[in-house]
């Protein structure tokens, strides 16, 4: 089975800092895995996610995502790669508040199509209806301005947008921290079910370890990031 993520001796140092924030000797994630990535704030997880998304560029080491060497791509190629292959879900504020929910979803498709150099596929309408229906998004919700929806609804719209272009990798950065526990569990179940249906690999980042049971594997930042260990942040658990 091919790897979704393959990292070897990766280091990243922010400009104007003398010590690396992130040092990962080795990390591999297989395709289709649902990984729970546990990390406290300051553990370098945001940096790692930015590297995986291709927004930041590492100084040394190997960073291979979905069989593409990100370090060998230009910034623009990495942006297109992200538009084509990845779905990103933040903690909150995933949507442009001044567009309707539907337009937000189409915006994602537009970027994907743009990166592919094609027009948005015609079978997308069908997928769109199935996906939004399975996420419990009604036509009324989709017509409303994203800013008017509740946080839970917004997060579901964000999942719909992330999944609609059939990405191979979904990166979710604390997507449930703004939700209450009931909505949180439902959200995770929905996300994982839809990801499984679309054969997408999921990297789910959270500081809340109680969520880990729904995932196929679990990894903690302080095991992954040897810089973090050196800085003495390891003795939390």
């Amino acid at each position: 089975m091919s790897l979704a993520i393959d990292i070897e001796n990766l280091t990243f140092t922010w400009p104007k800092q003398d010590k690396p924030t992130l040092t990962i000797p080795r990390w591999q994630v297989e395709r289709g895995e649902h990984v729970f990535l546990h990390g406290q704030s300051g553990s370098g997880k945001s940096t790692l996610l930015n590297l995986l998304c291709g927004v930041l560029e590492s100084q040394s080491g190997r960073l291979c995502v979905l069989n593409s060497e990100l370090n060998q791509l230009s910034a623009r190629q990495r942006d297109n790669f992200r538009a084509r292959e990845m779905g990103v879900i933040f903690q909150q504020f995933n949507l442009l508040p001044y567009l309707s929910a539907e337009e937000n979803i189409h915006l994602g498709q537009w970027f994907t199509a743009r990166a592919n150099g094609t027009n948005p596929a015609s079978d997308v309408d069908n997928d769109f209806e199935n996906l939004t229906a399975s996420l419990g998004l009604t036509a009324d919700m989709l017509k409303r301005q994203a800013g008017e929806l509740s946080v839970g609804q917004q997060q579901r719209v964000a999942v719909a947008r992330a999944l609609l272009s059939k990405p191979a990798l979904i990166i979710a950065d604390e997507p449930t921290s703004a939700l209450d526990s009931e909505h949180r569990d439902k959200f995770i179940a929905l996300l994982l079910a839809q990801s499984r249906a679309h054969h997408a690999t999921v990297i789910f980042v959270s500081h809340d370890r109680s969520l880990a049971s729904a995932f196929t594997s679990e990894v903690t930042m302080h095991k992954l990031n040897s810089s973090y260990i050196e800085q003495g942040g390891a003795d939390v658990s």
């Binding site: 400009p15 504020f93 001044y98 567009l99």
Partner: protein
């Protein structure tokens, strides 16, 4: 999509964006108005006389002669005698000669004593002849013809009796009451000083003043001045034609080529100290005097535009701070940094263009509202602001400036998109 995105984003920040557009619109309004007014004033100046080859007056400066003979500003230092006019009019190279006598007024409007030739030969604007809105030229010594503004302001009709006053002030102590005129004609509006003028037969002006001298009753028409200062002004008058005084003469020549030659002959005449000027050259010299005013007006309006653009810059910079999340969302979807820069540039162009369009509309609306007032009050004919190269230049200047200044927030967004990555602050 980019345009839709930009518009939606701007709409989400209606208040700030609206205020920015209004400030740009106001500055464009000032810029357009100043520029347009400048052009219109200049055109109005140049309209004042055309088709006249030479203007002749008693020896004086070119500007002074032009100012009093065409614009009725100031007064002649001395006059030409009627004999000199006759000599000139009969000269071989002269096709026509219109004598003009100034000095009297009616309700503050200058009175021009002239002959019927004025209405036949005088040209204004683009070689337009004068024509009558009502009535006709004078045939009797007591006939009077009114400019369009005079008739409109005073509400005079054909047949209206008019009494002229001595001197040019609106309130004059000396009225030529013994010599009333009858309105026989009203001219069409021309957008030149003609609209504000009252025309009488030149021979009647002299006759009118003579009446004062010869009639004992007339000596006390000036109600408040007991003693007669008037006498000094007209001490030498009688009705003999050769004693008529002429303030200036408009000349039309048989051959345009001889203009300079005729000018030199008149200017160097030893017997009669006269000046002949080319109206076009004198107008250009007059306009040159305005150059400084023109330039400073342009400078001020450009500075206003710059201020509005700096306002836009501030607004955009402030909005970038608020829009960090928006930028992070777009980045996460796969937007490259160039697209973010493009979006901000798009917004700046949209704001500037809206400002230009609104400013343009504002200019035309105010011209439409004020044109009548300005014409009656200042005698300025202002046409609507159409399309011209100057308008296009200013719009391009505004857009260019907007694009240039928007680079500052665009690059700041670019930098933060690079360094903050997907972590919206």
């Amino acid at each position: 999509m980019l345009v839709r995105l930009t518009l939606a984003s701007v709409m989400a920040r209606k208040l700030m964006a609206g205020l920015t557009v209004i400030s740009i619109a106001v500055s464009m309004f000032v810029l357009f108005s100043v520029e347009h007014l400048r052009g219109e004033v200049r055109q109005n100046f140049e309209r004042a006389v055309s088709g006249v080859d030479l203007i002749v007056g008693a020896r004086t400066s070119q500007l002074n002669l032009l100012l009093y003979s065409v614009f009725h500003v100031g007064s002649p230092s001395s006059n030409i005698s009627w004999n000199e006019y006759v000599t000139l009019a009969n000269a071989k190279s002269v096709k026509w000669a219109i004598p003009i006598s100034l000095g009297d007024s009616h309700q503050g409007f200058p009175v021009v004593g002239t002959t019927e030739d004025y209405f036949t030969y005088f040209r204004y604007g683009n070689k337009n002849a004068l024509d009558f809105a009502l009535g006709q030229s004078f045939t009797q010594p007591t006939d009077i013809v009114l400019g369009a503004t005079v008739a409109q302001t005073l509400g005079y009709q054909i047949g209206q009796e008019v009494v002229l006053a001595h001197g040019s002030a609106k309130v004059s102590f000396t009225h030529h009451k013994q010599y009333p005129f009858i309105t026989v004609g009203v001219l069409h509006a021309t957008g030149t000083p003609i609209d504000q003028s009252v025309f009488v037969p030149i021979k009647s002006i002299d006759g009118m003043h003579s009446v004062h001298q010869t009639s004992t009753i007339s000596r006390h028409t000036s109600e408040h001045t007991g003693n007669d200062t008037h006498e000094d002004d007209h001490a030498q008058h009688d009705t003999i034609e050769s004693d008529l005084q002429v303030s200036a003469i408009y000349l039309g020549l048989t051959s345009k080529i001889s203009t300079l030659q005729v000018q030199r002959v008149i200017n160097t005449d030893q017997q009669a100290p006269m000046s002949a000027i080319l109206p076009g050259v004198a107008l250009a010299e007059l306009w040159n005097l305005m150059k400084g005013v023109e330039t400073s007006l342009s400078l001020v309006s450009s500075l206003i535009l710059l201020a509005a653009m700096l306002g836009m810059l501030t607004m955009l910079l402030a909005s970038i701070h608020e829009r960090q999340r928006e930028i992070a969302v777009l980045r996460a979807l796969g937007a490259n940094t160039f697209l973010i820069v493009l979006m901000i540039e798009c917004e700046a162009i949209f704001l500037a263009l809206s400002g230009c369009v609104i400013g343009y509309v504002m200019t035309n609306v105010s011209i439409w509202l004020l044109a009548d007032y300005v014409q009656t009050e200042y005698g300025l004919l202002i046409s609507p602001l159409g399309y011209s190269d100057a308008v296009l230049e200013y719009v391009l200047l505004a857009l260019g400036l907007a694009m240039l200044l928007a680079l500052v927030p665009a690059l700041s967004a670019y930098r933060s998109a690079l360094s903050n990555g997907l972590n919206a602050k």
